[in-house]
Symmetry: C2
Subunit: 134 residues, 2 copies
DNA sequence: CGCTATTAGGAGTAATATTCTCACTTATAG
DNA sequence: CTATAAGTGAGAATATTACTCCTAATAGCG
């Protein structure tokens, strides 16, 4: 159906929560889960790639929690989406390790590539401050 | 992962086969399945929405088969994709019957809408003759 | 210092949704 | 009437999403 998965949706929602609460130096995943209505165990897993990609910083222990690793203006929506969902690849033949043997004869590749570039351009042009309306 | 499903990929491949064989007045689904390496029982199902949306014309019985319902220049890639996958809806909040209560406060809707429009524009601008390279 | 409460991280399992396949039914030309 | 090919519904396989329970790190306190 060409759509964002739950992982992407929940992850973005969690990130939005952090952006909207800039005063809190650390917010627990439990808090986010409760406030944004996201299943907690699932949300925990989503933070792993966000931390790995230097979007989120986390600390364990008492008074620990998560926060943005960089300023929200410096993080693009595309970055977050790709961290959560893997690199964009609207069609299999656009994947890095694609073994499609038809590239030279088939126009599909070019069409999907163009569509993907258009989409990525939009997502790359938005930073996290734009997740919330003024 | 934001990608075309197998339904979309197989369906487009089948349609491409019809475009590339304009001389044959009718081609059997079995033929397409064999030539394009698509699981036959699954492919059969994909033709249902294509027929319903007036993209494909089918006849049963001896010497039956499928063919394009209109000239390939008059059918856009977007039409075929939406027939196979349902209307584009990159994010839940873009769906017609969305019950998202955050639209007014959340910038997500606008961002995904913009991304989706960009993508749809590309797919709408391509017709079926462009599925095969010259 | 070392104990304790607290919070992230991770492995493995269960539930659910999606994708795909099989077996059977219906229509049509000859 | 028969052979052929599309059409359909139930069920298997797979991927996604959700949960359980356990481990690791850290701040604060006696």
């Amino acid at each position: 159906m060409i759509r964002l998965t739950k992982a992407g949706e929940y992850g973005l929602r969690a990130v939005r929560y952090l952006v909207e609460n800039p005063d809190a130096s650390r917010i627990s995943i439990g808090d986010i889960s409760e406030n944004k209505n996201i299943p907690e165990p699932f949300l925990r897993k989503l933070f792993k790639p966000l931390v790995k990609n230097n979007i989120i910083h986390s600390t364990r222990g008492v008074a620990g929690g998560v926060r943005l690793a960089r300023k929200p203006e410096e993080i693009s929506v595309l970055e977050v989406v790709e961290a959560l969902e893997g690199p964009l690849a609207l069609n299999d033949c656009l994947m890095d390790d694609s073994e499609c043997e038809f590239i030279s004869e088939c126009g599909m590749h070019d069409i999907w590539d163009e569509a993907q570039v258009a989409m990525a351009k939009v997502l790359r042009s938005k930073n996290l401050t734009e997740l919330s309306k003024p």
